[in-house]
Each structure stands twice: as structure tokens, then as C-alpha cells.
Amino acid sequence: MGTFLQQVINGLSLGSVYALIAVGYSLVYSILLFSNFAHGGFLVIGGYLCYFALNTLGMNIWMAGAFSLVGAGFAAVATEKLAYKPIRERTSVTLYLLIASMGMSIVIENLFVVLVGGRFRALPPVIPTNPVNVFGIATTSAFDIISLVTAVVFLGGLQIFLTKTKWGLAIRAAAYNLRIAGLMGVNVARLISIVFFVAGLLAAVGGIFLSVRYTLYPQLGMITIKAFVAAVIGGLGSLPGAVVGSLILGLSEMLTAGFLSSQLRDLVVFSLLVVTLVIRPTGLFGKDVGEKV
């Protein structure tokens, strides 16, 4: 029972980190209806900015965190303006955006390889990882609990932003129909920038936690594949879906690793993806955008 509870907490913690990434990804999808494969890049940028801030600039974790979040947010906006906007304005074929996002993902990852080298870097131990006893039944690390709490805080913040602010309302309207939102007076260009900023910011939070968990290296963004899977399971375009899908994924991964074999862990992830796509491609909460004939 102890192991089970332990793995559940591990799973929820991992899932909550995935959720931060998946939600940002789904947010972009809900507005622009394309999969931003470069999302992993924002994560990596967040990780490296934090590392840089902690080591070179000697900031404390709070300031480094803020620095990295804002930096990643701006990087996301820059990516959109440089790579996606020109394509979006010329054509409605989302395939081109997809390919461009794939390219950006590779560019960002390899920019770091070239600039700072591909070796693994450990972040200074600013997030405690000491073991914590949970209700006397299981031990988990403080890190897992902190990442879980942080994720909840940020997702909660996102929820408040979306439901209680003007721009949040605009984003929700745009998720229904971007063009109509524009016709209703929403500044579409700015809305897209805000959405990307938020997505980048959330990805950075995930990036920081993942860097601590797995050490920092340029290909860390590859882990976003799992967040994509989570978003698809939950339903592309649905934010609650992204969260639910992430938790399901985190739990499945950890339970598989704990009880079956850690080799099978990734296989389970992709099997869940394939099963979801084959049985219910719109995922748990996704919207089915049917085509008018």
C-alpha cells in the first residue's frame, strides 16, 4: 500500500508538471487550431534562463523563477511573431504552421546545443528534495509535493485569469471562433501574443521542475511529447482535458514504472496515445470540429 500511495503521489506530481505544459499547448491549439511542436522549446528556454539566473546572475530562486518565466514568455511571443505570423497571414493551411513549429523546435533545441553545449547541467539545489513522510504511510520527496502545489497554484491562477479578467474572456471567446472574436472588437494580434506569452510562461514553470528532476539538457524539450499525448488524451483544445489527461498520464507512467517495469513506461505512454486516437480521437473533452459540406 505504501508503494502504491508513493507511486500515486509521484504520478500526480509528474502529471501536474505535464499539466503545466499540456495546458499551454492546448491553449494555443484552442485559439489557432494548430499543434505548436515548438512548445518544448519554451520549456527548455525556461530551464536555461533559470539556470543562468541562478548561477551567473546569482539570483535567488524566486527572482530566477520570475526571470525565467517572463523570458520564456517573451521567447514564445517572439517565436510566434517571427515564424508563425508570416505564415498565418499568407495561408490558412495549418500544415505549414505544423512544419514550421517542428523546425522552430529543432532550432531552439540546437541553438542551446551550439551556444552552451549539450552536456547535462544540474540546477543548484534550490528546490528541496528531502524525503517527506505522508500520513505515516508513505515517503515521498518534498520536491514532488512542491511541484504539485506549484502546478496547482499556476493552474489556479490561469483559471482566474481566464474567468475573471477581460483578456481571459477574450481568449475564451476566441477559442470558440477567432475570427468572430476579432469582429467583436478583440485585438487579435495582441490576443495571440498574450496566449503565447502565457503558454511560454507555463512551459517555463514545467521546465524548471523538469530540469531539477531530470537535470537540464537541450533535448529536455522532447519530454513535451508526453505533454502532447496528455493534451490529446484530454482532448486537444480543452484545458480541463489537458489537466485530466496529464494526471492520467503521470499516474500511468508512475504506476507502470513502479509495478511493471520502468522500461515499459514510455511504451505505455504511446500506447495510450494510439488507443485514444483510434477509439476517440477528440479525447475526453475535446471538441469535434466537423467540416461543412
Binding site: 495549418t94 512544419i99 511529447i225 486537444l236 515499459l264 511504451l267 496515445l273 494510439v274 486516437l277
Partner: protein, 293 residues
Amino acid sequence: MSAYTEGILILLMINGIAAMGVSLLTGFTGIFTLGHAAYLAIGSYTTAILTLDYGMHWLPAIIAGGILAMILGYLIGIPTLKLFGDYYAIASIGLAESIRLIIENWQSVTNGARGIPGIDTFTTFPVALGFFLVLAFFAFNLINGRVGRAFMACRDDHIAASLLGFHTARHRAFSLALSAFYCGIAGGLYAGFISFIQPIMFDMLKSTEMTAVVVFGGLGSMSGCLLGTTIITLVTELFRPISQYRMLIYGLVLVLVMVLRPEGIMGQNEFNMKLFRKIASRIGKPKTTSERG
């Protein structure tokens, strides 16, 4: 011809075969794949295992590799091809990763992550040339006729295609099977060229590279994908001393092509008299409104 030049040419032809496979699926049938390295892997491993463990001659071994890849492609295609656009791309990533993970973990058959060394170097220049010429002959012929038109109808408007009596699901699955065959053959030839294969050679980066080459050359142009392959393979060779920049350049190529010229170098044109006439007439007189849209 020096051994080095011969090696480059062989590599060009192997990559060219794979590119034609991806072109059939992505360029001509409009199914954007980010997971075709899986079929390369299946071809490679099948050929390696058959020649090393079962003493089979390389010719039937390579063909077996192609056929196994084709069968798997078809089986995978049946449930997943009802997906379109982003969804299929994500599924292709998941499937490719799953296949790679299976290969990596199936120690008894594939020797796991360590890979299979000591494969006989049967892919000599004449062998590669033979396969290349035959497969190119088939590919160019197919696109110029009812098979090509059926694929393109499914690509340009699958609803209209079904309303013209095309069983689009079957055509798409067939396109996938064919492209998997080509990549399987390329994989088999590859095994006999580099003599040592490991699962990590067939990762997402490889898949992306396979698709990037076709995008760069022109989605919808068979000669374009060969041109793209040639340019990128040669540039990669040139940049070998600074291979860390190689991936960065791939990424930039993808992004720049999408932003500046999404139809790629060749667009939907082929290297034939029609193209030269077109270029000649465009140089000769100013652009009229009756140009191809």
C-alpha cells in the same frame, strides 16, 4: 571514383529512396508524417537479422524488410488514417516512438539499445543504383496516372474525392503501405551500408529529417524530393566538421521554407519539358493572369 565519393552517392540514393516514399505519402497524398524513421528501422533490422542470424542472401533480405515494413504500415494505417492533419502527425510520432522502444527493449531479437554490429556491407554502388533506378521508375510512373491522381484527390479535398467515388480510406492506407515499403527498402540498404545499426539512429530527429527533405524539395513533386535530398545530404556532408550545426540548419531550413516559400523549391512541378517551357515563357514575357494559380 574514390571510395568517399562512391559512399556519398550510395547514401544519396538510399536517402532518395526513402524520400520518394515519404513524398508519395506526404507530398502526393497529403498525409503529414513525423514518424517514418520507424519503417526505416523495420527494414534495417529485418535485413540485418535475416542476413546475420539466418544467413539469408541480402537481396531477399532487403525485400523482406520492405515487405514487413509495408505490412506493418498497412496494419497501422487502417485505424490511424481516419485521423487528419495534426492528429495523424501526433499519432505518427507516437507510433514511431513505440516501434523504436519495442526494438530497444526486445533484447533477444534486436540486441536492444546496443544495436547490431558487423552487418555485411552488401550495399555497393551497383546495388544501390539498381534499387534506386527501379524504385524511381515506379514512383515517377505511379504519380503520372490514375494512382497519382487518386492520391492527389485525397490530398486536395478528401470529401470531394469520396464524392467522386474514391474510397479515400483505402487509397490513404495504400499510400502509407507503399511509402512504408520504400522506407523499408531504404532501411535494408542502409544496414548494408553502414554495417552497424542502433535504435537511436531511427529517432524523431531522423523522422523529421525525412519529412523536412520532402518539404524542402516541394510537397507534390517527386523530382523535388530528390533535389531536396541531394541538397541536404550534400550540405550535411559539407558541414560534417561542424555537425553540431547540422540540426540547427535543418530546423532553420524548415522554418525558412515555410515562411518564405512553403511550396518548396519545386512546388508541384516536375523536371520535365513543361517546366522548362514555363520558365522560358516567364522569362520571355510579363506574367499574365492565366498563370497557374
